[in-house]
Subunit: 295 residues, 2 copies
Amino acid sequence: MYAGEAHSLEVEEILYEGKSDYQEVLVFQSSSYGKVLVLDGIVQLTEKDECAYQEMIAHLPLCSIPSPKAVLVVGGGDGGVLREISRHTSVETIDICEIDKMVIDVSKKFFPELSIGFEDPRVHLHVGDAVEFLQHTAKGKYDAIIVDSSDPVGPAQELVEKPFFETIARALRPGGVLCNMAESMWLHTHLIEDMISICRETFKGSVHYAWASVPTYPSGVIGFLLCSTEGPAVDFLNPVNPIEEVEGAGKHKRELRFYNSEMHRAAFALPNFLKREVSLLRGAPAPFLVRGQRM
Amino acid sequence: MYAGEAHSLEVEEILYEGKSDYQEVLVFQSSSYGKVLVLDGIVQLTEKDECAYQEMIAHLPLCSIPSPKAVLVVGGGDGGVLREISRHTSVETIDICEIDKMVIDVSKKFFPELSIGFEDPRVHLHVGDAVEFLQHTAKGKYDAIIVDSSDPVGPAQELVEKPFFETIARALRPGGVLCNMAESMWLHTHLIEDMISICRETFKGSVHYAWASVPTYPSGVIGFLLCSTEGPAVDFLNPVNPIEEVEGAGKHKRELRFYNSEMHRAAFALPNFLKREVSLLRGAPAPFLVRGQRM
């Protein structure tokens, strides 16, 4: 995912090596980041810093809408996002559509702190292709959809294309929200630009970019694209459903390690270079428009 | 600086290798981050991401006080921090105390976009030991002191010890501010803890921790310790001297690439794990106290 540099973790022991119908799956014990899950040679998560990614991708959307009830996770077979969604007592249904059963099985064996997410009785697991799954989903079914995909190579390729976003938008209720993994602001400006452009056409509510620090991802950051459909306005920048007021959220299974409402708001502050590059390419005065309102 | 992992940049060409009285100095052309300066084997800066570090370490303190006039830089021999201070038209004097002349010479040869900072006529260069320099400095001379040191091994060792911070505090006017490079929240929690502890004893105004994304630093982040002396209260979290209102600051030599007032405020949002660890060790209910006021 990034030429000209490498990030290496010291391997203490290889715990699992397998090849599913979709990708190569590797688990190893590192000396400094705990156990590590690798798909097709790309680090997906480590025990030390998974909290940042999982907590942000789940709570950025769920804390931005009042009382989320029906949630869909695309990908996320490790279960970490489910664990985070579980903190929300308002949620009644959590569908998850993961294409690769091996990821789930491997997580259940080696990452119990993540796969614990599958134990929530509200979770309904669908092993299969998310595009097909969404085509059979009732229009307007979900309050929130979280796309926790791997990088857009291999099985996740079509998850950054316009038809996929259109299918997502259709499955969301009016004023429903999407949170989509969206790469590194330092390395993948053009991919981010493309995703924002597609989402602006598809989502008629608002489109915002946020980011978080994750040491084991390329350049040490990961981005999130937050979109809402036409309907009740969503102000992603100021959580209306703050996690600190969700009963038991902080103590549920384990305490929150990364996310809080200050981190939520801070995630939307963008460096000038990103604002400028996205802005110039779009020919707009500011990169992120909330329907006519400049950030 | 971090066991069990490595971050590697592809070398296109070694441009300089030398050994000063203090450290080994290396400059190379990388394939993806531009030219890179390395001291004693540790990456100090790359052309691609130096903007994040230099802009944040300079503007976090200078935008937190009205109309800064006298500024001291400790270390910073590459000139990047000087370049950023130069944007502030209120500043009348910029002293810089760098121990290693070779760093300055190498920067002037290979990093003109940074060493341009030395060309500002307000800059007064002192090549020597900062501790000695500060001992001969009049009490209360500076509005702001910026410690842009290398990691606390080698010549920078004593720059994280209590006598040094006491000397800094003495050289600041009442309500003056210090911004000190303060490592990674992911990797160096104990060192951060020690520095905060010392600074709380030494600085009677406020003590805060902030951070920024810098891909080529360990774990992809760097922290800053912001302290103020007793006197006019300093609210680091809300810049009273916003860069957007400093005339010409955005166009001075080159446009700001990273810092803006949103990034300033966001830098003080801390993940739960850091709040908790620092808090527990201190036996205090919240990690960062602004004199009796919880963050």
